[in-house]
Amino acid sequence: MSAERVLTWGNPSSRQSVEIRRELVASLVSVAGMVGRPVRQLDGSLIGKLHDFVVLAGAGHPPVVGYVVEIAKRRVWLHASDVAGLERGQLILQKAKFDFADVQRRSGEIQLFHDVVDHQLVDLHGVQVVRASDLYLGNVGDGWRLVGVDTSWSTFLRRALPGPRGWRPTPTRVLDWDGIHSLEVSEEKGVQLDAPNSHLKLLSPADLAELLSDLGRSERQELLDDLDPEDAADALELMSDEDAASLLGDASVERAAELLSEMEPDEAVDALREMDAADREELLNAMGADDETDLRSLLSYDEDTAAGMMTSAMVVVPAAGLVSDAVAALRAARGTPDEADMVILTDADGVLVDDVTALELLGEDAARPLAELTGAPWPITVAPDAPLADVVDAMRESLGASVVVVDADGRPLGRILADDLVDALGDDERRWPWQRLAGGAA
């Protein structure tokens, strides 16, 4: 975590720091700089040139397990133990004779120069997408390991220089590799090269949403695959509907269905609306029956009406029940997409009676009938086909808490929360004026 601070130098303030820097730089090997450099035997005779470094993917600082060396136009594999040293821009071999094997990509192996340098990476601490200008190897006793990634402009420019200046390490903005999530996109699709990164857990949904929208298409899919379904669903809810739909569209149907069922129903529906009909059908059919029914009924409403923006997630309790029933229902919904901070009370016919917030229930006697808690202020309701402007008025009237959508018989269909309204207003703003008037699909 502090690696960035340790390895970042602005203006060296003292002679000591200059010394430390010089020593540290001398101990680092620049991956981009070494590629294409000569490979020699101990006696100094030239046998080929370095094509790439191979590391074993995993948490922390992955070890260099081998090298790809180009000898007379043929690429061969060289095991790490056969190398005596990486010195002055050359690879020195241990022995005089080798059996050179052809290069085979094995699962879990990453070719540093061709897979990582100049590609997009996720910096988990700075929470940003970066491009690797160079990678640095350090010898930490048990051999060479990937220790850091340089993301600076100056290093990128340095690599375009000819001669030794092009390959000497110039660490400027170096991030600890331990805090990097590599989005190595493998040549053979479906090979999982990255161990699931525990650091991903530390990111907030908003951060994840931001990262996902900054990445390239295959890279963001890679990141999405590495996330837990709940985290991924939270991030998807915070993305724009188009972004979420495009991410879900790229994922496998099973994975997308799983993520959709983890999302809040109204957010899931917003994303589904952005997809084309065939994909939407395929996804819905892949979901569990309950989720499918929920989402389909929400989808059947026009997007610009109260029902189109409501969430079907609500906790409904018979008004004839007790405080303990309401509390139990709220607790049962906790952690599910149905989680809410109020219960909706209905009579025997399922008609809305009142809503009771968790705050009102707080400290109430468990045995007290819910009927005693009902009374003004009554919940503000809107019809399913109420237009956006009516919902805005109703929300104002309700003093900003929430609005209940009820059918013609007064039965609750869902709730509209302030964030749903903000989303709907935001969408409206992005439309062309004539689309706003017509209120059609845009």
């Binding site: 100049d118 997009q120 940003q128 990128f156 900054d214 390239g216 188009e242 029914t293």
Partner: protein
């Protein structure tokens, strides 16, 4: 339970009210949502430099070289479509992909040349605004800063959809050229012949103007822009078909407008033997030949064209720089979130405005140099694009096959011929 699902399925799958009109409306809305990149990137290629080239083509060679415009339009369709596809499929901009696919030297070289060429071209656009406004008697010291503020305000305050909307409205001024072309009373038969029968006077100037026409239509910044724009717009691979309609519409409109500019100048100046040096002088020369309204229409078109390109060039540069650096670049981000993006935008705009406004600044060498850089940069850029398009690792199932790639190489070969011929004719005394 299963019954209810099936009921709902039935109701959502086959909407009984879904008439043909409704389906057409939905289709139009889907196209409307995708529209933008091709239209804006295409039309912005008809910028001040483009109008100048088309004007002198018409003034010097009449209708004879109109077919070059047709070839340019086809090349524009091919590569704009390719750029948009690469953007949608990879989700990355052109400059970043060049860095990733071709390494640091190619990346540094491309972005360096692109920034310089874009800066020069932005100067050309502001110079176009200056010339256009001075036709109406408005000093450049008012019009250029005003235009710069307008353009920056639009991008900084407008957000993505806002910018898109204003740019599309702005491109409507190109209709002015169609009006100017018709008012000039051209010989339509000769125009059709020039469009369909390729003939080429083998002189230095003719080859120069033909190459310039290809080069100004197929500009590097336009290619980089359409790709970044498609990325920023977060289009889906399933929308590629709609995007192609957008690209083709934009390119054909670009060609049509170029056609009317050539025709307007051919019908008037070529007939009278008047040659011109830039778009503003073309507007002035039009007045006595085709009446005052033609001049005004021509000037309005020049102003709008320059303004459109002047909003896109700093934007395209900012996209490219951020993309190479791997920093966030999106119109939806705030300046705080994307300092490099907005910083690049500001530097390009301010430097270009200063170069145009400070008296004694060597504007002409800057414009010429940027045109040369654009031409030099175009070839490697097209090769890189063709290479990326073939790369299965980047493009996956959307990678193009050998057949289509060879079409790209034919176009690239044609451009090499033009540039080669121009070079030879410029070096050898004719």
């Amino acid at each position: 339970m299963s019954e209810t699902i099936n009921d709902i399925r039935a109701s959502t799958q086959t909407r009984p009210a879904a008439s043909r009109w409704r389906r057409m409306a939905v289709g139009a809305a889907a196209l409307g949502a995708v529209m933008g990149p091709g239209l804006i990137a295409g039309l912005s290629d008809d910028d001040a430099a483009g109008i100048t080239t088309y004007s002198s083509m018409g003034a010097s060679y009449g209708y004879q070289l109109l077919w070059v415009l047709g070839v340019s339009t086809i090349a524009l369709i091919l590569f704009q479509d390719l750029g948009a596809r690469i953007g949608v499929v990879t989700g990355q901009g052109l400059a970043g992909l060049i860095r990733q696919r071709y390494g640091a030297r190619a990346g540094v070289g491309s972005i360096g040349a692109l920034v310089l060429a874009n800066l020069g071209t932005t100067c050309a656009e502001f110079a176009g605004i200056a010339a256009g406004s001075e036709i109406f008697g408005l000093s450049r010291y008012i019009s250029v800063p005003l235009a710069a503020l307008l353009v920056s305000g639009l991008v900084l305050r407008g957000g993505f959809r806002g910018v898109e909307r204003v740019l599309m409205l702005l491109s409507a001024v190109f209709i002015a050229y169609i009006g100017a072309g018709i008012l000039a009373g051209p010989d339509w038969g000769a125009a059709a012949r020039g469009m369909l029968v390729p003939t080429m006077p083998l002189t230095k100037d003719a080859i120069l103007i033909a190459t310039a026409c290809l080069g100004t239509t197929l500009a590097p910044w336009g290619l980089a822009f359409i790709q970044s724009y498609a990325v920023d717009k977060k289009l889906d691979t399933k929308e590629l078909g709609l995007l192609r309609i957008d690209v083709i519409t934009g390119a054909i409109l670009t060609g049509v407008i170029g056609f009317f500019v050539v025709v307007a100048c051919a019908a008037t100046m070529f007939v009278k033997g008047i040659t011109i040096t830039d778009a503003a002088s073309a507007a002035v020369a039009l007045e006595p030949l085709a009446g005052p309204l033609t001049k005004e229409l021509f000037a309005v078109g020049l102003l709008g064209a320059s303004l459109l390109a002047a909003s896109i060039l700093p934007l395209s540069t900012a996209y490219s720089v951020c993309d190479v650096a791997g920093r966030p670049a999106a119109l939806d981000d705030s300046p705080r979130e994307a300092p490099l993006f907005y910083g690049t935008f500001a530097v390009v705009t301010v430097v270009a405005v200063l170069l145009v406004l400070i008296p004694g600044m060597p504007l002409v060498p800057v414009l010429v140099l940027s045109q040369v850089l654009n031409a030099v940069l175009l070839l490697p850029l097209l090769f890189y694009m063709a290479g990326i398009a073939r790369d299965r690792r980047l493009m996956g199932e959307h990678a193009v096959g050998r057949g289509i790639t060879s079409v790209y190489y034919v176009v690239i070969g044609l451009i090499i011929c033009c540039i080669g011929a121009m070079f030879l004719l410029n070096v050898l005394p004719v």
